[in-house]
């Protein structure tokens, strides 16, 4: 007869599965990134809300100043200003600026770094209907027509960030099975 303390000891011998090594990296990225930001801002990370409040106040004031400036320009020489702005191609300007600073490659690399790998696929048949026997033209053998309503779900996962994408869509399939008579 097993004693309860004996069962406790046996349970303690059971070792839970170890987490994947990626998990530690993900947590390091999440915690480390935040600490690094706080350190570079010269503020302790324990009081981020204060920093955020100042930041939003600053952003609000800047937006108000820009609006005021645009209103004033619109009242005076607004047409010329609009024409000048629309003649600039932002895409080309950005490309040129990035190429000059050598940042185009790093941008492409950062896009490549976020790679999603397939993580799972499920196919759920939630309705199946037997539509009876059919004779297709030119065929002497009858066919059984089966109609399936299916929900397919595919999942991808970025091991670096833990982000995942799940796509789920319904589909209908019709299957024709030859029936042989005995």
């Amino acid at each position: 007869m097993r004693d309860l303390s004996e069962i406790e000891n046996e349970l303690r011998k059971l070792r839970p599965k170890q987490p994947s090594p990626i998990l530690l990296e993900r947590v390091a990225e999440a915690i480390g990134g935040r600490d690094a930001q706080a350190a570079s801002a010269g503020r302790p990370s324990a009081a981020p809300h204060v920093f955020r409040n100042w930041l939003s106040l600053g952003a609000g004031l800047a937006a108000a100043a820009i609006l005021l400036l645009l209103t004033l320009m619109g009242m005076g020489d607004g047409k010329r200003f609009v024409n000048e702005v629309s003649s600039i191609s932002p895409g080309r300007e950005t490309e040129r600026a990035l190429a000059a600073r050598g940042e185009r490659r790093s941008m492409a690399e950062s896009t490549l770094r976020h790679r999603f790998i397939p993580a799972g696929a499920t196919r759920v048949v939630y309705d199946a209907r037997d539509e009876g026997l059919q004779f297709v033209a030119g065929s002497a053998q009858p066919l059984r027509r089966l109609r399936y309503q299916v929900q397919q779900t595919l999942q991808w996962r970025d091991p670096a960030t833990g982000a995942s994408i799940r796509v789920s869509y319904p589909s209908e399939e019709i299957l024709l099975l030859p029936v042989s008579g005995q």
């Binding site: 007869m1 097993r2 309860l4 069962i7 406790e8 046996e10 349970l11 303690r12 011998k13 059971l14 070792r15 839970p16 599965k17 170890q18 987490p19 994947s20 998990l23 530690l24 993900r26 947590v27 390091a28 999440a30 915690i31 480390g32 935040r34 600490d35 690094a36 350190a39 990370s45 324990a46 993580a119 799972g120 499920t122 759920v124 048949v125 939630y126 929900q151 779900t153 996962r157 833990g162 995942s164 789920s168």
Partner: protein
């Protein structure tokens, strides 16, 4: 320098508690990847607020809450798939590493326990929480936590008795 120290702190804390935390999260979610997502989110939020592991009942409460949210979000899909799962007997990754058949039987018996007993057992045995901490996580009294633990052990004893 202080920053580096904090990093080392969280790494040692996390390495120590991660397997138990994952096991705790796995009670509600079937996939290890989902459990890891939950543990990551809970631990990062917890560490940012506390910077130590003293009040760990809060961490376990966060994992439990996130896992239950996940189950609620995922319940519609789970209902759709339930019928198929029952027929196909979907493969579930084991929660433990086994050395022999006895351990396999024991792990299987743990899986058969009612949820409320199993969560107390997991927190007590593999996470080494006290009954006071367990009571705080679950919002129950210390006595209830202790009696659920005892019921779990008795149930395991019954299940493992030779027929």
């Amino acid at each position: 320098m202080e920053n580096t120290g904090r990093h080392e702190d969280w790494k040692s804390c996390f390495s120590e508690i991660a397997p138990g935390l994952l096991l705790f999260a796995r009670q509600w979610v079937r996939s290890a990847a989902d459990a890891e997502d939950i543990v990551q989110e809970a631990f990062v939020k917890f560490w940012r607020r506390n910077h130590n592991i003293k009040n760990r009942a809060l961490l376990y409460a966060a994992v439990r809450s996130l896992a239950l949210d996940f189950v609620r979000r995922d319940s519609r899909r789970a209902r759709r798939e339930a019928g198929v799962r029952a027929e196909a007997e979907e493969f579930v990754e084991p929660h433990f590493e086994f050395d022999d058949e006895t351990q396999l039987a024991l792990a299987h018996a743990v899986d058969q326990l009612p949820q409320e007993q199993r969560e107390v057992l997991v927190m007590k045995i593999w996470n080494e929480l006290t009954f006071v901490e367990i009571a705080k996580v679950l919002g129950i009294s210390q006595n209830t936590a202790a009696s659920r633990y005892r019921y779990a052990l008795l149930a395991l004893k019954r299940m493992l008795q030779p027929q």
